[in-house]
Subunit: 221 residues, 2 copies
DNA sequence: AACCAATAAATTGTCGACAATCTAGATATC
DNA sequence: GATATCTAGATTGTCGACAATTTATTGGTT
């Protein structure tokens, strides 16, 4: 399910989307060098469009580039993950508070019934939330904040990085049902127009996610 | 005083910095079209480097680009300003809290003595804080947070936008001495390692700035 | 054998030209 | 006179080639 459409009009757009997906989903691993000529032959486009795509990836903090040397996929450190989730906590906590103020009733209802509809699915298969469901939920609340700069900031940069972490660290599994309940509580707070509570719950929700990943990280060492 | 150096190694870098300055400082006004050929003759570089510079400006939300049409300098709305300062409040509030945890004593001392040194200057000329002083203060606290992602996020994008607002709205003047005192209180909280208080004071400080600008805005209408 | 210098190969940065797309003006039609 | 269509101009998107810089290789010296 694609809930925020990035439509590629130009060739650079398509290349950028493809490259980003390959990196975020791990097909191009962390630390890999992005050779312009290699990629231009692979995607059958000019080096100019490859360069433009790489520039955009650099702006998203997905690749690092050194002048006259080249671009490499960023290697994600444990500290970097902590930093990223600190930012998410601040920004999405604010988003939840603003959503409680600004989100139209119709959007709240839509989000609420979306969660309701997934209730049975969650109870049965326990496979609900690792992916699209969680992302969808968070994105709808960001949009509900009605802060345009916040929306672009998160959907252009931070989310892709966060997903990249989860993929690279093999985070596909657990923490399913509790996250679902947390989501429900957040929606209820927004529905009650209780911004303060919504922020607290959202921050806590993101902290749980962070701790969950951090635990897995320490186990791997 | 330049306290965080962006050194331009390539020609695109230089063009990007120049273009950004001209836009942020108002030489190129809001809503202006950025013609690639025009700029390439003006700066005496190829269209390729102009395109790269424009792409970077787009990533900073300084220009908006439509495919096959062109790029225009963003026109700043009152709502946009509100949104921007909401984000600053969340992020820099967090930065202050983190700085109270992570900022080395040496950096705190340096910042503190910097403020002390400006005390007389403030009392006399009342011209202290409209520019570099304020920016320097905020940047040092961001750096003190030791959150690298936060540092790049703010210094690459948000600060330039915030400055652009102030320039376009003719915010050069007042709110000098009170801001100075606010800064001193924030530093004291950081020095005492009181993260909670530091965050509260920083948020309040940014709210004051926002209100100050918002008032001027309504007067202009 | 280890280290340094000079050269060769490869990669990125920049350029000018062509192709694709959009915008404006003129012409035609109702 | 207003609207729609077509054409001409201008602008952006894409391409391949050349220049500048970095990296790897070779050769020489201690």
């Amino acid at each position: 399910m694609v809930f925020f459409k990035e439509q590629a009009v130009t060739s650079s757009d398509k290349t950028y989307f493809q490259l980003r997906e390959e990196i975020v989903e791990g097909a191009i691993p962390a630390g890999a060098k992005l050779s312009e000529v290699e990629l231009s032959t692979k995607y059958e486009v000019s080096r100019a469009v490859i360069r433009e795509a790489i520039n955009r990836l650099e702006a998203c903090n997905i690749v690092e580039r050194k002048a006259n040397v080249g671009a490499r996929v960023v290697t994600l450190t444990e500290d970097g993950l902590l930093e990223l989730y600190q930012i998410r906590e601040a920004l999405e906590g604010m988003a939840a508070r603003l959503a409680a103020q600004n989100m139209p009733e119709a959007e709240i209802y839509e989000l609420s019934s979306l969660l309701e509809g997934q209730q049975d699915e969650v109870r049965q298969s326990h496979t609900y939330y690792q992916e699209a469901g969680d992302l969808d939920f968070h994105y709808r609340i960001i949009v509900g904040s009605k802060n345009q700069q916040l929306i672009t900031m998160l959907s252009n940069g931070i989310y892709h990085l966060a997903r990249m972490y989860r993929v690279q660290l093999g985070m596909t599994g657990p923490r399913v049902t509790t996250a679902y309940d947390e989501h429900k509580h957040i929606v209820r707070a927004i529905s009650n127009r209780d911004g303060e509570l919504a922020e607290i719950l959202m921050r806590r929700h993101i902290q749980y996610s962070k701790n969950n990943i951090a635990v897995k990280l320490t186990k791997m060492k």
